[in-house]
Amino acid sequence: MSRGTIQILNPGALTTIQDAGRFGYADMGILQAGAMDTVSMQAANLLLDNAPDEAVLECTLLGPEIRFDVPCAFAIAGADMQPLLDGQKIPMHAMILAKAGSVLKLTAAADGLRTCIAVKGGMDIEPVMGSRSTDMRCGIGGLEGRKMAAGDSIGLRAPETILPDAYKRYLTAREVQRYLGHLRNGSGVKTLRVLWGPQAHLFTEKARGVFAENEYTLSADSDRMGCRFTGTPIPAENGTDIVSDGIVCGAVQITSKGLPIVMTADHQTTGGYAKIAAVITADLPVLAQLKPGEKIRFMPVSVKEAEKAAAGQRRRMKKLARAVN
């Protein structure tokens, strides 16, 4: 039962409902989907004392305009889309109270690409195969399996405006840097740490050197399925076609042109290009926030380093939860 709704006045460039993703069905060819930047998703939810993986509105590049029909607390985390509530500037990374009739407007991302809007108590969306995530390719989850459109109405499960310790429910600029370091501003070359992948041996040492030592630029034809990069081609003497096998978020496939595609949330469950490497869990949020034209470098690390980085990220989320609750 919905206890109020939010109305989409303007959907922005691409706004979808996403949670942690759909697990347990990949053997049937069903996509994972889910939030691209799970750290921002969790931060927005934790600011409201929601479950960290509660479904949020994931906004891309240019944010939506939304009207609340009931009073409700909300929080926005991720790329700075300079949000306005009833025309007034409001901070990112803080609990904000909407009145009945309030209009929230997000604008273009000043830095980064994706932003999550969480509402207190979550959205009234029927889970499909255990998840509320929108799988646009297969038309399931979220709202009718599609992106938001003007006129859409989304039910709220338990909107509230009175939360304990309300005064604590924001992050200072320093806390944002500490807990959401992947949002760091700057035009420099970013680093994506990787582990060598199942087909790394199909590439010569020299070819792996090309991959690890050059800068690659995010191409504009990237989407929720994958991030395509341009740059120095990685040579493969016998081509990069393989007998299809499993792929995951972060898997780095090398196309027949020798260029890397890093698979992301909406990737197919199997693929036929050689996987030279895979981006480590801790750096997937960095990937999610890359804008076309930005430069990255792939840095091979060990499994131990990858696990240490992932543990560090989990620790930071726990600290964030303690700081705001």
Partner: protein
């Protein structure tokens, strides 16, 4: 990371810190795929906490896990042990699903081309296409899309030069040496020879996909009237395919 303790050879590779791939080889063969199915089923049966997904493919098994629950090294050990101790010929039951297909007409607009390409009649194409039990090597590309092995070489047909923008759900097609079913509406370049009224994929069903990798499909020719009857039953949720245990 070669495994020497058994006659089943495999390699385990990390696929990031939250997944690994156990690879038995790099070709398409029944023997190799048998091992894949065995490992997939035996890992599934163990219900290991932290495992999110197990994806069997032609020649490998990819395991996705939550690194907060189980570390890579522990997961690798577990997969290695399971693969080392499995014996060929074990590993769960497989089934043969009989899939009714109405061939030709509006359901199979390319049936005549496939017949012409093979230099045989349409009836002969149907006979050759319905003869085998096709092994499902893996599911992928779309939910429930079966990669089938065993198409008769006579009816191999190249893909369409220009892919269609919309192929109806249930369409049965041929592309090169492959045959398969489109579980949902999709663009595609396969030669369409018929359509099944059965919903092989339904996101709202408890078991969203009818079959799983390792099972077999057998196509049964039906008339347009029978197609309509099964469609009506399917809409009421009152149709079930004939299923038999598979015996090799």
């Amino acid at each position: 990371m070669k495994n020497n303790n058994t006659n089943i050879e495999f390699n385990i590779f990390p696929l990031g810190d939250a997944a690994l791939t156990a690879e038995f080889g790099d070709e398409i063969s029944e023997a190799l795929n048998d091992r894949v199915q065995m490992l997939y089923l035996q890992l599934k049966e163990q219900k290991v906490p932290g495992i999110r997904d197990i994806v069997p493919t032609y020649r490998s098994v990819t395991v996705l896990f939550d690194p907060a629950v189980i570390r890579y090294s522990r997961m690798e050990q577990l997969v290695r042990k399971t693969a080392e101790h499995m014996t060929v010929g074990t590993g769960g039951e497989h089934f043969v699903y009989e899939i009714p297909v109405c061939y030709g007409g509006t359901f199979g607009p390319d049936l005549s081309y496939v017949a012409e390409h093979a230099g045989i009649t349409e009836e002969e194409v149907i006979r050759l296409h319905t003869a085998p039990d096709y092994r499902i090597y893996m599911l992928g590309f779309l939910p429930g899309f079966p990669y089938l092995g065993g198409l008769n070489d006579h009816i191999r047909t190249p893909r369409l030069e220009t892919p269609r923008l919309k192929i109806p759900a249930g369409s049965v097609g041929i592309a090169g040496g492959q045959t398969g079913i489109y579980p949902m509406e999709s663009p595609g370049g396969w030669q369409l020879i018929g359509r099944t009224p059965v919903k092989v994929y339904d996101p709202n069903r408890k078991q969203p996909v009818l079959y799983r990798a390792g099972d077999r499909l057998k196509f049964i020719p039906v008339t347009p009237a029978e197609f309509d009857r099964i469609t009506a039953l399917t809409q009421e949720g009152a149709f079930t395919c004939h299923v038999e245990p598979y015996r090799s």
